[in-house]
């Protein structure tokens, strides 16, 4: 079993082959593509992360019919049987930063999706427990966004008199 060109066409996905295979897919077909990938043998989710392309200086190479958006969710899958890795990249717009959760297919995405939510503020629809994971629960802002400066928060310790 493998990923057929007809499947890709049905999912509006675009496969860029190279040293590392990359799949581009529109956000609406993301969940369908992931379940297709699971069916063809990619049972292991290595990594799920996101990139904020707000200040990207280079040229973004995307397939013609995929519109570049501010955020991009990147999923790295691994197949133990095929000894192959594949990467899925999905564009997520800034004004509606949400995407389907793949928890029902890969339960291991739980921590990764929470981290992306915490760091980028992307909402994963259908995630069982979408709360902050690394930052405190009452934190304001999403640190890995490019418009979040490195030294925004003055460091002070509990019960210290504070900066003079």
């Amino acid at each position: 079993m493998s990923l057929e060109p007809s499947d890709l066409k049905a999912l509006n996905a675009y496969l860029k082959q190279g040293v590392q295979d990359v799949l581009f897919v529109p956000r609406e077909k993301y969940l369908a593509l992931m379940s297709k990938l699971y069916d063809v043998g990619f049972h292991f989710l290595s990594d799920l992360t996101a990139v904020d392309y707000l200040t990207y200086k280079g040229k973004r190479e995307l397939p013609a019919d995929i519109k570049a958006e501010r955020f991009e969710v990147v999923v790295n899958l691994l197949s133990h049987a095929l000894l192959k890795r594949i990467r899925v990249r999905v564009q997520v717009p800034e004004d509606l930063a949400e995407i389907d959760s793949i928890f029902s297919i890969f339960p291991s995405c739980e921590n990764f999706e929470r981290e992306v939510y915490d760091m980028f503020g992307i909402i994963f629809k259908g995630h069982p427990d979408l709360t902050r994971i690394l930052m405190p629960e009452d934190w304001v802002g999403h640190p890995l966004r490019k418009d979040y400066p490195v030294s925004r928060v003055p460091v002070h310790f509990k019960e210290s008199p504070g900066p003079l």
Binding site: S46, N76, R87, P107, S108, D129
Partner: protein, 419 residues
């Protein structure tokens, strides 16, 4: 809904801080059928740093649990975006402080993939030597802390004693015992010191003898076995669905080792066995790790034989600094040296994901470059971060006392989990 997912949903306690605070609890009365929620950590000696686990208890039995992390979060991925590619290794080496060289390695492999440079063979073999030594020292550290957690204080001393041998060699080679910044984009920082063969020979001769001692002293000991056998069992299917890698996955019987299945460096040129367990309990994890030390020694012996001669880094003045002697006589060398350490080198646009087998599992690095001297995005896929997800499944239906052994068998390094 698959069975694994169902079990997972049932064993994870989904309770946020705010919800927990809002609970109206009368602590004095626990009625029949009522459960108790207890915090284990973040300041508990056996939680390996600052891991906090919320446990839902029915008497002594754990029902659901939830690992709460983030106490050691220092924003290293954000920092990574502010440092040049040259400086980056200094940052990532602090993530998994028990296997710093592996972290540097994965970072440098990612940078080199984007650069498209090919390393001289000696650099590759030195990297392999260092990462195998690091695997041994990390596993020894685990043997030590695991011994401590299950009540064997002697093991703590033993593990640290043997680890010291390796750290001394690291200090001799890299100048530091931890956080080496030794593996750098383009090769390694310095060649191995004179007489390194003798030091490594001593390590290779000592460690297996000491492992025999451990076997006699701890592996066959009934109390130790009783404490670990059948505790925290994880099925292979569950492990894969929950993103578990490394010794934890191999203990369940899945022969998945990136060094063998997707070789990087020169692991396809050395012989070693992939150690697997059978049932996937805490004792299997112990057995897998202690035998992996033996395999690493085997690899190191082969490296000793096969270590090629030549350069220890690429001779590209745009990537690696010129030799010290050249700076005194050549203006160009001085300029290159100055340029590399002030603005660094530019990396072509692109993105890549590189993964290696760290002592804890699949350590990955996803890197995006926009053509400047700093990574646009640097993400580390930390094995402990993913492995922690399996904790609720392992803790379910065990006693609180076993939780200590289970957390220990997972070998989480909080520096890596929280980054």
């Amino acid at each position: 809904m698959s069975k694994v997912e169902k079990d997972h949903r049932q064993s994870v306690l989904r309770l946020s801080e705010t919800q927990a605070n809002a609970l109206d609890i009368d602590e004095t009365i626990i009625g029949p059928g009522e459960t108790m929620i207890v915090n284990m950590g973040p300041q508990h000696p056996s939680t390996h740093g600052v891991l906090r686990v919320m446990l839902e208890l029915e008497g002594e039995k754990i029902l659901r649990s939830k690992p709460v992390i983030g106490y050691l979060h220092t924003g290293m991925e954000k920092t990574g975006e502010e440092l040049t590619f040259v400086q980056g290794a200094t940052n990532v080496t602090r993530m998994d402080y028990l296997s710093p060289l592996n972290n540097e390695l994965v970072y440098c492999l990612a940078v080199e993939t984007l650069l498209g440079v090919e390393l001289p063979p000696r650099a590759i073999w030195i990297r392999m030597l260092m990462s195998e030594l690091n695997r041994i020292s990390s596993h020894l550290m685990w043997l030590a802390t695991n011994g401590m957690d299950v009540g064997s204080t002697t093991m703590m001393i033993f593990g640290f004693r043997e680890r010291e041998l390796i750290l001394a060699f690291f200090e001799k080679t890299t100048g530091l015992r931890m956080n080496h910044n030794y593996i750098r984009p383009g090769g390694v920082a310095a060649d191995l010191p004179d007489g390194w063969e003798d030091d490594v020979e001593v390590i290779c001769d000592t460690i297996p003898v000491r492992l025999e001692e451990y076997d006699e002293f701890i592996t066959g000991q009934p109390i130790f076995r009783e404490r670990l056998t059948g505790v925290g069992t994880l099925a292979a299917e569950t492990a894969i669905e929950l993103g578990v890698t490394g010794p934890l996955l191999r203990a369940t019987g899945v022969p998945w080792d990136l060094r063998r299945t997707m070789p990087y460096l020169a692991y396809d040129q050395v012989e070693f066995d992939v150690v697997v367990g059978t049932v996937g309990d805490a004792f299997d994890r112990y057995a897998v790790r202690i035998n992996e030390i033996r395999e690493s020694v085997k690899i190191i012996r082969q490296i000793l034989e096969k270590m090629p001669k030549g350069d220890y880094r690429v001779q590209d003045p745009k990537i690696t600094p010129p030799p010290r002697a050249r700076i005194d006589e050549s203006m160009e060398a001085l300029i290159h040296h100055f340029k590399i350490f002030t603005e660094g080198f530019r990396v072509p646009e692109g993105e890549c994901y590189v993964a290696i087998e760290s002592p804890r599992g699949e350590l990955g690095c996803y890197m995006v470059s926009d053509g400047s001297a700093k990574p646009y995005r640097m993400h580390i896929r930390a094995p402990s971060f993913a492995n922690l997800q399996s904790l609720p499944a392992m803790l379910r239906d065990h006693f609180v006392a076993d939780a200590v052994a289970i957390i220990s068998s997972l070998d989480p390094v909080m520096g890596e989990v929280d980054r």
